[in-house]
């Protein structure tokens, strides 16, 4: 389900939901990679299961676009970890995409619902 990125896209929009999820997760404060991955799994009630490894290309992409920034720091258990935080630009992007995403899902639901009515 999460998109596997093959090459750096030059598209303006968020590449799939994964990038958006990462941005959303970082809204609450800087986190390192492992924490982001676990957070996405937990907050979706384990409905979204991704290979944690596929997070890293997304992190690179978001860094490249300037929506997140990285810094080496120390984790809870005193290990070195790279922390990512949301930039102002990233916050703006997240709000823009969130509304787009909500509109999209609403449209899809509207299409699906009449079919559901028939089957019920």
């Amino acid at each position: 389900m999460p998109p596997r990125s093959n090459d750096a896209g030059r598209i303006e929009l968020l590449q799939g939901p994964l990038d958006m999820l990462v941005l959303r997760t970082l809204l609450f404060g800087p986190m390192h990679g492992q924490a982001i991955a676990n957070s996405i799994e937990h907050t979706s009630d384990d409905a979204l299961r991704i290979d944690h490894g596929s997070l890293y290309p997304a992190l690179q992409r978001l860094q490249m676009r300037g929506w997140i920034a990285a810094r080496w720091g120390t984790s809870e258990n005193n290990r070195r970890a790279k922390y990512y935080r949301l930039t102002a630009e990233g916050k703006r992007q997240l709000h823009a995409e969130t509304s787009k995403w909500e509109r999209l899902t609403a449209a899809v639901v509207r299409i699906m619902r009449p079919a559901q009515k028939e089957t019920s």
Partner: protein, 903 residues
């Protein structure tokens, strides 16, 4: 903004790539460690914790790679990786690499060399300022198809054009390529020169390095005719004497003044052979004498079409005004056609031949790559199982092909450079074509790069396609066992071998036909006995030999006596068998006049022209020219008796196709354009071919004693030109100085402009076809070698692939001969089919070429000559058979035990 940030990000990653990668590695490692720690904290055992963490993370390598892919420089890394891999691989198999690179180098080099010549002819701007505005203007006979209808321009017409046309910045008249005799103090030398009007030099941007160029005042009457030397002739004839400007030159006895020396960089029209330019300072009123060229520079902003339209109007105006212009129009064409028109078709054919060589080389390399590919199936399988998709594998294989192609091109450029230099030097017309020099300029280099790219695709694409589709299961199964490649593989190789054979057959057929042609030409019967004949072209320069008769000059009786004396003296030399006088000499060109038979000469323009040559009575007998009808001249034919003539067979066929010419009369239009001479035909002799490949020109011979008043155009009208034909018993070249001495004893002022043996003339006349024959032969030989190498390579690989199978067969009792047959059975049908297709192609091409290239002198040998084709087929078959025989024999001699063990 975002774009800029992205670029910065990517660039930073590229420059500090190792650091970035280490950073990423650190990050991923720390991620996993944190995960592991969390797992341990939640109660898992350490090993379980590790395992769970890794499972959750997924493929580390893939994550790493995908992240790096985001940086966007992945393709550069991969390319570099592939190139290094390919280079290593090629270094490890030098035999294959050498074969492939040399094949490609030859093919690409040949094509690039041919293109560089085409570049000069078609693409590169002429080496003059404003080259696209330079044109040639010709007169054109209306109603005749071009290019036969195009003629030179007469002087009065040129003057009218200059006065009436508004489209030209300048218009110059040129009469070029004329041999003169330069009389220096101690010797006479032949030089090549041209007459030009004053607009010529500024139009072409010429500069004088010493003195000055021709100026309008040189054309005023009463002045010594001005001459400009070329740098090369200044060096050759005057030893770079600094005070040559202002000195007087004697050209054909007439004094001229040197006013300047041209700079060496000036690219001359007819190669480096131009020695001097002379002011065209006389006037002729005869509009029918259309023998000069006109070149012009159009005003900026006009097009050829517009200029053509204007000139058409002027031409029709002139046609109404002057009866001699009636039926004549104008043609304006780019100067390029004037320079290269003759060669364009020929060199296109050449280029096509080179492309064929390249195709053969490419199929060769494709085959080799295919064969190698069969052995790399395991490697491809391993790569595929590691995650490489088909595109990735193909990219790698294409990179290898590209590398081969580039190496081949590097060699090819060297070959092209050397080839062009040698070709221009040794070609008989090399200097003509190389106006401004043949160089590898940006167009040629661009073509070379494009060619390398296309060739790489051509031979690399199909093997890449084939090899990148490994059967993973099969290939990885038995370690060490070489699988026998499937049917598809053989089919491709077969097709390539067939293609190769077909191409080389076409090329060889072309070369073979030309070589056969040349061979025949060298042996053609000339019509006279050319053995041990010396031809001496002389001029009697003293004024007592010529007298004025009206507007013309005529030989004096004293001249006649002198000539007779010379003849007698030469005959008396021991070793001389016979002497005769021949006007233009047999095998040379001839002076032609308009001649009409069976009626008065009505229109000079319309009458057919034939050779009109004075000879002495002994001429025919001495050269063993057969007398077919009537008689030849004798002493009784003199100035006082009635004018007689002897014609050759071609003349009889043209003018008297159905009747006996003996006794008929013909009218000859003389040089002064008004007089007509009537002669009676007394005999018919056999044809003497002036050029070995063309039919003999119709010729009318008349006695020297009946020399008509002659008008020699240009500067040598004061001299009497006499050609002595001497048959010697021994080597004529050695008799030449003796004869020369005798000549000077009788007539001290005689000028010997040239002496040459007839055999030499015959040899030189075949210079051109011989040169082309050699060049084609070299490339045909190359093609043959390439085919041999290709067939050898393919068969060798087949054998090496099937070593295991052969081992089994032999262990089971197969006789070596059976093995031989087995290997050959694959190869022979391919060769035969290739030959068949090649033959078909040749025949089809021959029909096409026959129509288009009629002037390439294949009259002697038809393009479908069965003898030549048979020989060529046999040659290719034998070579291919031998090439496949060698590895087949090796196969037949394999030791079964070794084969079974090692395979």
């Amino acid at each position: 903004m975002r774009w800029w940030d992205e670029c910065r990000f990517r660039f930073a990653r590229l420059l500090k790539r190792r650091e970035a990668e280490a950073d990423l590695e650190d990050e991923i490692r720390s991620h996993i460690e944190i995960e592991v720690q969390q797992n341990i904290d939640s109660g898992m055992r350490p090993e379980e914790a590790q395992w769970a963490a890794r499972l959750k993370f997924g493929n580390v390598t893939l994550a790493h790679e995908d992240s790096r892919a985001q940086w966007g420089w992945l393709w550069v890394e991969r390319l570099w990786q592939d190139l290094r891999c390919a280079a290593r691989m090629f270094a490890k198999s030098p035999g294959f690499t050498a074969t492939a690179v040399i094949s490609l180098g030859l093919g690409m080099g040949a094509t690039t060399a041919a293109f560089s010549l085409l570049n000069v002819m078609f693409f590169r701007p002429l080496p003059y300022p404003g080259p696209d505005r330079l044109v040639e203007v010709l007169e054109r006979e209306l109603g005749k198809p071009e290019p036969d209808s195009l003629t030179g321009v007469s002087m009065p017409t040129y003057r009218d054009w200059k006065a009436q046309s508004r489209s030209f910045e300048s218009l110059a008249q040129v009469w070029d390529g004329i041999p003169f005799v330069l009389n220096q103090r101690d010797r006479s030398v032949e030089v090549l020169g041209g007459f030009v009007t004053p607009e010529y030099f500024p139009m072409l941007g010429a500069r004088a390095c010493r003195g000055r160029l021709l100026a309008p005042e040189d054309y005023l009457p009463g002045r010594k005719t001005a001459v400009v030397l070329s740098h090369a002739s200044w060096q050759r004839l005057f030893g770079l004497n600094p005070s040559v400007v202002g000195t007087s030159l004697r050209l054909e006895g007439k004094p001229h003044e040197v006013v300047g020396v041209m700079c060496p960089e000036f690219p001359t029209f007819w190669g480096e052979k131009v020695d001097l330019w002379i002011a065209l300072n006389w006037q002729v009123e005869n509009r029918a004498l259309r023998n000069l060229s006109v070149i012009g520079r159009m005003k900026p902003g006009t097009s050829i079409r517009a200029v053509q339209a204007e000139m058409d109007v002027i031409a029709s105006r002139l046609a109404k005004q002057y009866p001699q212009q009636e039926g004549f129009g104008v043609r304006v064409q780019p100067l390029r056609t004037y320079l290269y028109g003759d060669y364009q078709k020929r060199f296109l054919a050449f280029f096509a031949a080179m492309v064929l060589v390249l195709l053969i080389a490419s199929t060769n390399v494709a085959n080799l790559l295919l064969a190698r590919g069969a052995g790399r199936e395991k490697e491809m399988a391993v790569r595929a199982s590691l995650g490489a998709g088909r595109p990735r594998l193909m990219r790698q294989l294409l990179t290898e092909s590209a590398l081969l192609s580039c190496l081949g091109m590097a060699l090819g450029l060297l070959v092209a450079h050397a080839g062009v230099r040698l070709g221009v030097r040794f070609s008989p017309e090399g200097a003509n074509v190389a106006t401004g020099g043949v160089s590898l300029d940006w167009r040629v280099l661009g073509f070379a790069a494009l060619l390398a790219f296309l060739t790489g695709w051509l031979f690399g694409w199909f093997p890449a396609l084939r090899v990148s589709r490994p059967n993973l299961n099969e290939s990885l199964k038995e370690a060490g066992r070489r699988p026998v490649a499937g049917h598809g593989f053989w089919r491709t190789q077969t097709v390539l071998v067939i293609a190769q054979t077909a191409f080389s057959l076409v090329l060889l057929a072309g070369a073979g036909l030309m070589i056969h042609n040349v061979w025949r030409q060298l042996r053609v019967t000339v019509g006279c006995n050319t053995e041990r004949v010396l031809q001496i072209y002389t001029q009697l320069t003293r004024s007592e030999y010529m007298e004025k008769a009206g507007k013309l000059n005529r030989m004096t009786p004293k001249a006649g006596l002198t000539i007779q004396a010379i003849e007698a003296r030469i005959k008396a030399i021991p070793g001389v068998i016979g002497v005769g006088l021949g006007g233009s000499g047999a095998l040379g060109g001839c002076y032609s006049r308009p001649i009409s038979a069976g009626g008065p000469l009505v229109s000079r323009d319309r009458a057919q022209r034939s050779c009109y040559d004075p000879v002495s009575p002994a001429y025919f007998g001495m050269l063993d020219i057969p007398v077919l009808k009537g008689r030849v001249f004798s002493e009784s034919d003199s100035k006082q008796s009635s004018p007689v003539a002897v014609i050759n067979e071609s003349f009889a066929k043209r003018y008297f196709p159905r009747e006996d010419p003996v006794g008929k009369t013909v009218d000859v239009g003389l040089w002064d354009d008004t007089d007509v001479e009537r002669r009676e035909i007394v005999g018919v002799v056999g044809d003497v071919r002036q050029r070995p490949w063309a039919a003999a020109a119709p010729a009318l011979y008349y006695p020297y004693s009946q020399l008509p008043p002659e008008f020699r155009f240009g500067i040598s009208y004061e001299h009497l030109m006499v050609t002595f034909v001497v048959r010697t018993a021994t080597d004529p070249a050695r008799m030449a100085p003796v004869v020369g001495r005798v000549l000077r004893e009788v007539a001290p002022d005689i000028l010997v402009s040239w002496n040459v043996t007839m055999n030499d003339i015959r040899w030189w006349s075949t210079e051109q076809p011989r040169f082309y024959g050699w060049v084609l032969a070299i490339f045909a030989a190359t093609a043959l070698v390439l085919v041999a190498v290709g067939v050898f390579g393919v068969t060798s690989y087949t054998v090496s692939q099937r070593t295991h199978e052969i081992g089994i067969r032999m262990a089971l009792g197969a006789h070596p001969l059976h093995v031989l047959r087995l290997i050959l059975r694959n190869g022979v049908p391919q060769i035969l089919i290739g030959l068949a297709i090649g033959l078909g192609g040749t025949l089809a091409l021959a029909r096409f070429l026959e129509a288009r290239f009629a002037d390439l002198r294949l009259e002697e040998v038809k393009p479908t000559d069965p003898g030549t084709l048979a020989v060529v087929c046999l040659l290719v078959a034998v070579v291919a058979a031998l090439a496949s025989l060698i590895p087949a024999r090796r196969a037949a001699r394999t030791d079964p035990m070794a084969a079974l063990r090692c395979a």
